[in-house]
């Protein structure tokens, strides 16, 4: 079994600051991490491999320093890492990103065996679109299984797969076929701690590095800015609210009195609510 996992290196957004004057992201010194959602995909891929045998290849498209993310993935136990890097990819939107990644996945198939499953995370924390997975599926003509909470079973001989997919108001149990693309939901199983052996191997491993041509991309106009139909026209800060909250004064008052004042304030703001709550409350 061959599994490809797409991971993205992202700035640790918990530590991102926005420049108060220029509204640009202050990236300096912001550490990068593997997109947290992708770790659920990686863990699931490793579990499937451990159970059914085979190999896990991790793939990322990004700047040369994205190699760090791939090495990290190797320490968790991935077998092979491919870095897709080329200045032609700069400025890619989701359509261009999914194009480049799908070409690279096809090339991975040529070089190391056709993948049975391609995993992506649910979404990235910087792009946050959840579109790249479906985009890859469409381009590679793979069955698309999004928001998968659990892989219930895989029948390798019959080449079928049964998954539980999160949908509005419940869980769909879907039976489908390999090869497929799965976008994995968060909160499934957290990433393993990788063995010492894997850590040593990761440090020594050669990372496969491909530029556009090496990934088999002939039409460069489908990549990067030129291949991106969407363009960011304006970036701006949200308008802050004019005034701060009106504070209920708590000095020398009992909790009960403060609560009383708050309820009065709520009903002054929302007079209709008082009546409605009285008649529709939980009585």
């Amino acid at each position: 079994m061959h599994i490809v996992v797409c991971i993205k290196q992202v700035p640790d957004s918990a530590q991102i600051r926005v420049h108060p004057v220029t509204n640009t992201i202050m990236r300096q010194g912001v550490p990068t991490i593997i997109n947290p959602y992708d770790l659920f995909a990686l863990e699931e891929a490793l579990k499937v491999r451990d159970y059914h045998g085979g190999e896990v290849t991790v793939l990322t498209m990004g700047p040369p320093m994205a190699e760090d993310a791939l090495r990290k993935a190797l320490t968790y136990g991935a077998d092979r890492a491919v870095l897709l890097t080329d200045r032609h990819f700069a400025g890619s939107d989701t359509l261009a990103t999914s194009f480049a990644l799908s070409q690279a996945i096809a090339q991975i198939g040529n070089s190391f065996g056709t993948p049975d499953i391609v995993f992506t995370g649910k979404q990235t924390i910087d792009g946050d679109t959840a579109q790249v997975g479906p985009g890859i599926a469409k381009r590679l003509n793979l069955v698309q299984l999004t928001y998968v909470a659990k892989i219930a079973s895989i029948e390798l001989s019959a080449r079928t797969i049964t998954v539980e997919r999160r949908s509005e108001g419940g869980t769909q149990v879907l039976k489908s076929e390999l090869p497929c693309l799965i976008t994995m939901l968060e909160g499934t199983a957290s990433i393993r701690r990788g063995s010492l052996e894997d850590a040593l191997r990761a440090a020594r491993s050669e990372i496969v590095k491909w530029n556009a041509a090496e990934a088999g991309i002939e039409d460069i106009t489908k990549c990067g800015l030129r291949g991106s139909p969407t363009v960011v026209k304006r970036v701006f800060a949200p308008t802050p609210r004019a005034e701060k909250a009106a504070q209920i004064d708590t000095t020398e008052k009992t909790v009960r009195d403060v609560a009383d004042e708050l309820v009065t304030s709520i009903f002054t703001h929302q007079p209709a609510l008082e009546h409605e709550l009285s008649s529709t409350g939980s009585a």
Partner: protein, 369 residues
């Protein structure tokens, strides 16, 4: 938009100004479409919110507003058609076929792309639900057009292009995105981000039917089962009128009971900030914020929540925000309407008591387990 938005942001300019040259063959793409999401017979309310937005955009463009309905033949689909008109659509595109009963990517993608190729909309809006996101991604890729996810603002530019605004970097910034040289311009919008429009009694108008040429044995994926979340845990948080939420300031999982008691007393629903989900105190569908639900209640009470930007973006649409926090400098007081600097553990029970008294005699407390 993946990689694009992770770049530092030069203000506009560059390619953004080349958008006028729309290729000839896209010129006849007109009108605004809203994909109406049907879930087990019910229209998802986000579809009505989008019809409201779509109406505004269509009027600005002097174009028509259409609802797109894909579903099995029968009452629920017919009901959706009537609802599209009640929410002011000018016409409906309808594909009725038994294999559209449960959502699956393959037939829905084909049905929607067929419609687009045949009837050529200029703008196509979908809800950013699990269904909408699954479908929008593959439809946009099939059509090789742009898609802007999770928009919070939609507008028509002077030259008629769709200006789609969405949060980026976890809500700390907003960006406006255009789709150049491609049609339709696609966008998804999360439930509750847009206002619910008024429903009218407009009669059913023009319905254009399309025959989907696809058969069950061509579809690889089969729905084996559907496990409903069940009534009790089925948090319809996004649409609750009153929401009470707790954060790390609650200190311990037991104290969630204080929250539930208050919610129950005032007939509201309860939610939380992200760390509480991560700790396993509450289920993921109770999370409010950028990576949880967007809410738009008339009253939102936040207890022990600091008000991080990722939380803020999910609650800003509330009519009245009340914050209870021990720290007078907590960022939540920057966007709450009413603040109380107090210990939530002792304050929540007192608040519940006062509500019970004020809402009496018709109301009395029942404890929730």
């Amino acid at each position: 938009m993946g990689t694009q938005k992770s770049k530092a942001s030069p203000p506009a300019g560059g390619r953004a100004d080349t958008k006028k040259k729309l290729p000839e063959h896209f010129r006849d793409y007109r009108h605004v479409w809203v994909f109406m999401e049907l879930e087990r017979g019910q229209v998802h309310p986000v579809s009505f919110e989008l019809l409201g937005e779509g109406r505004r955009l269509a009027d600005q463009l002097g174009a028509q507003l259409a609802g797109v309905i894909l579903g099995p033949p029968g009452d629920s689909t017919q009901h959706a058609v009537a609802e599209a008109f009640a929410y002011d659509a000018d016409l409906v595109y309808l594909v009725e076929k038994p294999l559209l009963t449960d959502y699956r990517n393959e037939p829905f993608t084909k049905a929607l792309t067929d419609l687009v190729n045949k009837y050529k909309p200029e703008i196509l809006l979908l809800g950013a639900t699990t269904l909408g996101r699954d479908l929008a991604g593959s439809v946009a890729t099939t059509l090789l057009t742009g898609l802007t996810a999770d928009c919070t603002g939609l507008d028509v530019d002077a030259d008629g292009s769709l200006a789609a605004t969405r949060p980026t970097f976890g809500g700390s910034l907003l960006c406006t995105i255009y789709t150049l040289n491609c049609r339709p311009q696609m966008a998804t919008v999360r439930p509750r981000v847009m206002r619910m429009p008024q429903r009218s009694n407009k009669p059913i108008g023009r319905v254009i039917r399309h025959n989907l040429r696809m058969w069950e044995d061509e579809i690889v994926t089969k729905v084996v089962d559907f496990l409903s979340d069940g009534q009790s845990e089925n948090a319809n948080l996004a649409y609750a009128d009153v929401v009470v939420a707790g954060g790390l300031g609650l200190g311990a999982a037991e104290n969630l009971q204080l929250l539930k008691n208050l919610a129950h007393t005032i007939g509201g629903d309860y939610g939380c900030s992200r760390p509480l989900v991560q700790k396993g105190w509450l289920a993921a569908d109770r999370q409010i914020g950028q990576t949880g639900k967007t809410i738009r209640p008339r009253l939102y009470i936040a207890a022990g929540i600091s008000g991080a930007v990722q939380h803020r973006v999910g609650v800003e649409g509330a009519d009245l925000i009340v914050a209870i926090n021990t720290d007078p400098n907590a960022p939540i007081f920057d966007f709450a309407n009413v603040g109380v600097v107090a210990d939530a553990i002792s304050f929540l029970p007192a608040l519940t008591e006062v509500f019970i008294k004020r809402l009496a005699p018709r109301n009395h407390m029942r404890l929730v387990n």
